[in-house]
């Protein structure tokens, strides 16, 4: 494990930086928003991301991926955060890919992982049933029905839910354990309601009414399905933290540049000590967030058993810092920071939404305390 990027990682970061800057800058998000795009992301962009090898960053090579691990996935996400790129990357390439890696049968891996790597199908991961993240609160039920199952329940704010080809749904089986099921969103009994959120993403609420599932809908490859479920979520948290961190870094850079260029009372406002101290403090916070994000991702790759604490800490810190960096960003921009014309407000919105996903800083702090035994 190392904080310094290795060669593969450097290449991945450089190519991601170039790619998203060119193909998915902030203006692309504005266009999706202003067009009221029905799914909230571009399928063309997704195809290009697959060509770049991004979509299969966690997919083993023999299933068509590049298998560079979570650290590399985090680098891609940090760049997406910097450019506010909207895509189903976390849902599909992180959560779903992790789900197949950790809990899929060989047959499921063979069927689905290549599709992820090739960008051929969008997968969404359906967890939460309440307004706030609570991965243990699962009331959705999958009851045995012949060789298959019957699924009933509700899921809320499923990321990339609008536009997904396949859902992976967390549900309790008759032993009261949480298991994961593949569900076709077009199947009978599934209803979808799209949600347009502040960051112009389009998650969806789902209702499952006695949905008939085949026996192989169950992800049956894990020895301990609940442990796999936790691992998948923690991987999602570390990766989401990486995106949030990218949001924070870009918001900070933009704000710093603005401060340096702006004059008031005849002097550059970047000379005001009050703002300098806040900027310097923020810089320190960003460094802390950076270290935790990187540490969580590399720990997932190399010492997964120790990952939970680092993932929770990284998620909490990146949530807090990205919200701070963007709100300070608006304040330091002053009036223009409130206008839709400037980008800083879009970063503020994304920081809020990204922070909420898979647990905010309160949730993370509570889990850190629990994992630390107090």
């Amino acid at each position: 494990m190392s904080f310094v990027l290795n060669e593969d990682e450097q290449m991945m970061r450089d190519s991601a930086r170039g790619f998203f800057g060119e193909s998915a800058p902030v203006s692309a998000l504005r266009k999706l928003r202003d067009d009221n795009d029905p799914i909230g992301f571009s399928k063309d962009l997704w195809a290009s991301m697959a060509e770049m090898g991004f979509c299969g960053v966690l997919v083993p090579e023999d299933h068509g991926g590049v298998d560079l691990g979570y650290a590399a996935a985090g680098l891609i996400l940090e760049e997406m955060g910097r450019h506010l790129t909207s895509s189903p990357f976390i849902a599909t390439s992180v959560l779903a890919a992790s789900a197949f890696n950790l809990a899929g049968t060989d047959a499921q891996k063979v069927e689905h992982l290549p599709k992820i790597a090739a960008g051929e199908a969008i997968y969404a991961f359906a967890i939460d049933e309440r307004a706030r993240h609570n991965p243990g609160h699962i009331e959705t039920r999958a009851t045995k029905d012949g060789n298959g199952f019957r699924l009933s329940g509700k899921k809320r704010f499923v990321a990339a839910g609008t536009g997904a080809d396949t859902l992976i749904v967390a549900a309790r089986t008759e032993d009261d354990k949480i298991n994961l099921f593949l569900v076709d969103p077009k199947a009978a009994g599934v209803s979808l309601q799209s949600r347009r959120t502040i960051d112009s993403h389009m998650p969806a609420d789902f209702t499952f009414e006695d949905v008939k599932l085949d026996g192989d809908a169950l992800l049956a490859g894990a020895d301990d399905p609940e442990k796999a479920y936790e691992q998948i979520l923690n991987a999602g948290r570390a990766c989401q933290a990486a995106e949030s961190h990218g949001v924070a870094v870009q918001a900070f850079d933009t704000t710093l540049e603005y401060l340096k260029g702006r004059e008031q009372f005849g002097v550059s406002i970047a000379t005001f000590q009050g703002l300098q101290h806040r900027a310097a403090h923020l810089y320190g916070e960003l460094e802390l967030s950076q270290s935790l994000v990187r540490r969580a991702l590399t720990t997932l790759d190399t010492q997964p058993s120790q990952a939970p604490l680092w993932c929770m800490a990284a998620k909490a810190k990146a949530t807090q810092v990205s919200r701070l960096a963007t709100s300070e960003g608006i304040q330091m921009h002053g009036g223009v920071g409130m206008t839709d014309e400037y980008d800083i407000g879009l970063y503020y919105k994304r920081a809020q939404a990204a922070g909420e996903f898979l647990g905010d800083d309160h949730f993370g702090a509570g889990e850190v305390a629990r994992l630390s035994g107090y």
């Binding site: 608006i330 002053g334 206008t339």
Partner: protein
């Protein structure tokens, strides 16, 4: 007339004259009456209510009757306010003319200016907007560049204003204009009243991060203003503006401190509450408790400062402290609302009325600590004028 008699008569008059529909809480922007030449009343009752109140001068109870006011004493005006509140009456007229231009004219205007401009404000016939800020000027109003050149009895005005609320719906604008090119920065600004119904004035709405907004950019392109519509002396504009800014500051604080969703109801809405009523997330509960404490403290402080002002200690630069605390508190409240609501708070548009309101309020609240002088400006003022710390 004794205050008691006044209260009785007022109560009876209101009972008879305030239409029932005007006693219901305001639900949306459309329920507020702003008046003006192009105003379309939302209902016949809204029109009647404005007319009746204007006739008594009670849209501006303490202004002299000569200028369309009610001529009430401070005590009587307070009684009227209480009685209006008692029946839940809506304000008959909201207006920057009442809140801002009026006080400035009453203090700095000539008799003729008062006679010409105050009564139409009182009756809701002319709608005013404020032209202070300019692009790139922000809190630093003194660096403004909109220029007025005097020729005979007319100023020709060129330049651009920003953050002019409802400029697209207003009839006249009161604006700060640099008229004395050679004077030092603070002394070169005049306070001009400009008719917006002329080819040289145009407006463009500003879209905010929270969506549509009442704010506009306003452009002056050889716009004309008669010299008789300059309030105060040439170059006195900065003084008048400062006087008005203190009015505005008080307005922002009261908006920030009152009303709106609170995190406890938000948590209830989101179902994030235990059976015994406790918030499910103990850390959030702690944050909310701190907000409650600071909210109680802020309310008590508002009241204390008011009481002390009534006893002659004045508010002065402490208004800056109140503005700073109140607006930061409102931002915090909105942030906790969002936390308490979780994903529900992220909704921007949906099938239900009110979807996205919480998020929009949260976004809008961020402007509290920028408009009317940023928090940083308020802290500078407190440090220098209350704490007497020296300038660098």
């Amino acid at each position: 007339m004794s205050l008691e008699t006044f209260r009785k008569e007022t109560r009876a008059w209101l009972e008879e004259n305030c239409p029932a529909s005007m006693r219901k809480p305001i639900k949306s922007e459309a329920d507020i009456c702003w008046g003006g030449k192009t105003w379309t009343f939302a209902s016949e009752d809204q029109k009647v209510w404005l007319e009746r109140m204007a006739e008594k001068g009670w849209t501006v109870p303490t202004w002299p009757t000569e200028y369309g006011g009610g001529g009430l004493s401070k005590e009587e005006a307070f009684v009227l306010k209480e009685e209006l509140k008692a029946i839940g009456a809506r304000s008959p007229l909201d207006s920057f003319g009442i809140w801002m231009l009026g006080p400035a004219l009453l203090k700095y205007g000539t008799y003729e200016q008062k006679l010409e401009h105050l009564p139409p404000i009182a009756r809701g016939e002319i709608r005013w907007c404020q032209g202070y800020s300019e692009p790139g000027a922000g809190s630093d109003l003194v660096s403004l560049r909109t220029k007025g050149v005097l020729d005979g009895d007319t100023y020709t005005v060129n330049g651009q204003k920003v953050w002019t609320s409802y400029a697209d719906k207003s009839d006249w604008i009161f604006a700060l204009v640099r008229t004395e090119a050679d004077a030092p920065k603070y002394n070169g600004i005049s306070f001009l009243l400009i008719d917006m119904d002329q080819p040289g004035v145009s407006t463009k709405p500003i879209k905010l991060i929270s969506g549509k907004s009442p704010f506009c950019e306003t452009f002056f392109d050889d716009a004309k203003a008669l010299v008789k519509n300059r309030v105060g002396e040439a170059g006195q504009g900065w003084e008048i503006a400062k006087y008005l800014l203190s009015h505005e500051r008080a307005g922002i604080v009261s908006e920030a401190a009152f009303g709106g969703l609170n995190p406890v109801s938000a948590a209830h809405k989101a179902g994030e509450v235990e059976d015994d009523g406790r918030l499910s997330d103990p850390l959030l509960r702690g944050e909310v408790a701190k907000l409650t404490i600071d909210g109680l403290a802020f309310d008590a402080t508002m009241r204390r400062v008011k009481e002390e002002a009534d006893h002659g200690e004045g508010v002065g630069a402490r208004a800056s402290m109140l503005k700073y605390i109140g607006t930061e508190l409102n931002k915090k409240r909105n942030e906790l609302n969002m936390s308490a609501l979780g994903s529900d708070g992220l909704l921007w548009e949906g099938e239900n009325e009110g979807d996205g309101d919480v998020a929009r309020s949260w976004l809008r609240s961020r402007a509290n600590s920028i408009e009317g002088g940023t928090s940083e400006i308020q802290l500078n003022i407190v440090a220098k004028r209350v704490l007497d710390m020296p300038s660098a």
